[in-house]
């Protein structure tokens, strides 16, 4: 700052860079929390859709799938097989909400306002990511609670539970950063729908509902190699107390890779000139 000019707001100027960034991120996080409380519909959708799918697959199709797949192969009841996939879908729906929220910020022009203020630039995105992750984790806990009421019986091993929470958090961060990038990229709310479709469709083409072995040709190849499958398999192993393939390296690797891509992409989009 030039010495000739009196500082505008003493407290603000005196604050250190890191302190200011923290304070701005906290302000953005408060704003995000308010949005969630003000707009409960989004949260209800995030929980409601996975619960409906859970009821559909366990209540309606569960009997037939149980008979067809053979319960012995998947640690007993079909509900135990399907819940990890449902949890991942919850995370996916949560990310969709985030993409829409970021896109609303862009189209409303409030992000343009933030950009012209002397605030920590990353705080806008950090607020979204931290807020969304917290909201999505809360949704995942609620969906898991419903699953337990419906007969889901996970392992009691606390170490595996910790690993489960860590993995869900990691995949949430990955999908949320991707969602932020998509929200920044899309010109309108409709532009986000491609992401929504992918996130909602990929679980069906994975090991979420039936093992890829039971699928045919190309679909099986896709289902085996897409990122959701190793993540769901790892979650399933952790939750049911069964062995996790490759020690979960593939699952964690995919999460880290997706998170990194999402983060770098979002950062680049946020920095570029908003050309209208």
């Amino acid at each position: 700052m030039s010495g000739a000019r009196p500082a505008m707001s003493g407290a603000g100027q005196a604050m250190s860079g890191a302190g200011q960034a923290m304070s701005d991120a906290a302000t953005m996080l408060r704003r995000n929390a308010r949005h969630t409380l003000r707009n409960p519909g989004a949260m209800i959708m995030t929980i409601g859709l996975p619960v409906v799918l859970l009821l559909l697959f366990v209540g309606v199709l569960g009997g037939a799938l149980n008979a067809g797949l053979g319960p012995a192969a998947h640690g007993g009841d079909y509900i135990n097989y399907v819940v990890p996939g449902i949890i991942l879908m919850t995370v996916g729906y949560g990310a969709t909400t985030t993409a829409l929220a970021v896109n609303r910020d862009m189209t409303q022009g409030i992000i343009a306002r933030f950009r012209t203020m002397a605030i920590s630039r990353t705080s806008v995105l950090t607020g979204h990511v931290v807020g969304s992750t917290a909201r999505t984790l809360a949704s995942a806990v609620l969906v898991t609670g419903v699953a337990v009421l419906l007969g889901f019986r996970p392992t009691g091993d606390s170490l595996r539970w910790l690993a489960t929470i860590a993995l869900i958090t990691l995949v949430t961060l990955a999908l949320t950063w991707l969602a932020v990038a998509v929200g920044l990229l899309a010109k309108t709310a409709e532009g986000v729908s491609g992401f929504t479709l992918i996130v909602q469709l990929l679980p069906f083409l994975s090991s979420a509902f039936v093992p890829p072995d039971s699928m045919s040709g190309t679909v099986r190849w896709f289902a085996t190699h897409e990122p959701f499958t190793p993540i769901i398999d790892a979650l399933r192993g952790l939750l049911l107390g069964t062995p996790v393939e490759h020690g979960g390296v593939l699952a964690v690797g995919w999460c880290v890779a997706l998170a990194l891509v999402g983060y770098l992409w979002a950062r680049a989009l946020f920095r570029r000139d908003p050309i209208r």
């Binding site: 700052m1 030039s2 000739a4 000019r5 505008m8 707001s9 407290a11 603000g12 100027q13 604050m15 200011q20 304070s23 701005d24 302000t27 408060r30 704003r31 308010r34 949005h35 003000r38 707009n39 409303q108 022009g109 409030i110 343009a112 306002r113 933030f114 950009r115 012209t116 203020m117 002397a118 605030i119 000139d273 908003p274 050309i275 209208r276």
Partner: protein, 319 residues
């Protein structure tokens, strides 16, 4: 007065910017002294919004230099941001938050502290007549209320330089007057205002100096008086009921432009009462019957036509 006049709040030299292959700003120079109002006047597509976006650090520029509140735009963007406030064409308010929460959000980002934030927010709600709506979500506000909230949010941090991009576009006359009043108050408090507008009247009302922007170039800079003096667009339009009257009038008023289809005549005039009286007397003496009369003062179109040789609307020839 002498000491402040010397300091410039916005100093721009040779500012250039193109998008893809299109040149949007083509070497623009101007200087805005502290505590004054500068208006960038021009039609849609002239580059006004781009100028505001560049000067408010929102987008970069390809060439030239700009200093705002004493800080270099390119090398000290954060110092510039700390000194400015921006209200764009489209209200940048958070629709899910209430008016009060929007203001407190701004106050928190300016680190005013809890009590300070509440005090500043209450002050601005009162000033902008938003007290009754303070606890309602901004998404329920009318267009005028949103614009007032938008400006109030801009003022939270007491910026020294304020950019207003078409601040009254789409506003009703009452809200427009209110906006003008606010701008005048800010200027009298020493704030520098940079505003863009499509309305000559608005620039005339508010600006100390006006820059006319056309296709990315400043074609004229001066006071409203200086600009209008060079604009011959003022005229009186006479409407006739019969072709014979039109012929007679055209003979009488040789400097007028006639329109045979509309049976009308455009007589150059400053539109003042003495000129009108003289004109009517002349027509009376020649016993010419006039159906109707209207007075046209120079508007943006006239300013444009005079300065650029083409009207504001005809950016490309229609096929």
């Amino acid at each position: 007065m002498a000491s402040t006049a010397a300091r410039s709040a916005i100093a721009v030299t040779g500012l250039r910017r193109s998008f893809g292959g299109t040149v949007v700003l083509d070497g623009v120079d101007f200087d805005v002294p502290e505590g004054s109002t500068f208006s960038l006047l021009g039609p849609n597509g002239a580059g006004k919004t781009t100028a505001v976006q560049i000067l408010s650090t929102l987008i970069g520029f390809d060439g030239g230099q700009a200093r705002i509140a004493g800080h270099d735009l390119a090398s000290e963007p954060d110092a510039v941001r700390a000194a400015i406030g921006v209200t764009g064409q489209f209200s940048a308010v958070d629709g899910l938050l209430t008016g009060e929460e929007n203001l407190i959000l701004m106050a928190d980002l300016h680190h005013l502290g809890r009590a300070g934030a509440r005090r500043r927010s209450a002050e601005l709600l009162d000033k902008f007549d938003l007290v009754d709506a303070a606890r309602k979500p901004a998404s329920t506000y009318s267009g005028g209320m949103r614009r007032r909230l938008d400006l109030a949010m801009t003022l939270v941090g007491r910026p020294r330089v304020i950019f207003l991009d078409e601040p009254t576009a789409g506003l009703d006359p009452r809200s427009r007057r209110m906006m003008w009043q606010t701008v005048r108050e800010l200027v009298s408090g020493g704030v520098t205002i940079f505003l863009t507008t499509q309305y000559l009247e608005e620039a005339d009302e508010l600006a100390d100096r006006i820059g006319v922007l056309d296709h990315g170039k400043l074609v004229a800079v001066g006071t409203a008086e200086e600009l209008k003096r060079n604009v011959p667009g003022g005229h009186v339009r006479l409407q006739f009921g019969a072709a014979a009257d039109l012929d007679a009038a055209a003979r009488e008023l040789s400097d007028a432009a006639r329109d045979d289809e509309a049976l009308s005549l455009q007589v150059p005039s400053d539109g003042g009462l003495p000129a009108l009286r003289a004109l009517l007397d002349r027509l009376d003496r020649a016993e010419i019957e006039v159906d109707g009369l209207s007075v046209h003062t120079p508007d943006l179109d006239d300013v444009f036509f005079a300065l650029t040789g083409h009207p504001t609307t005809a950016k490309e020839p229609t096929p």
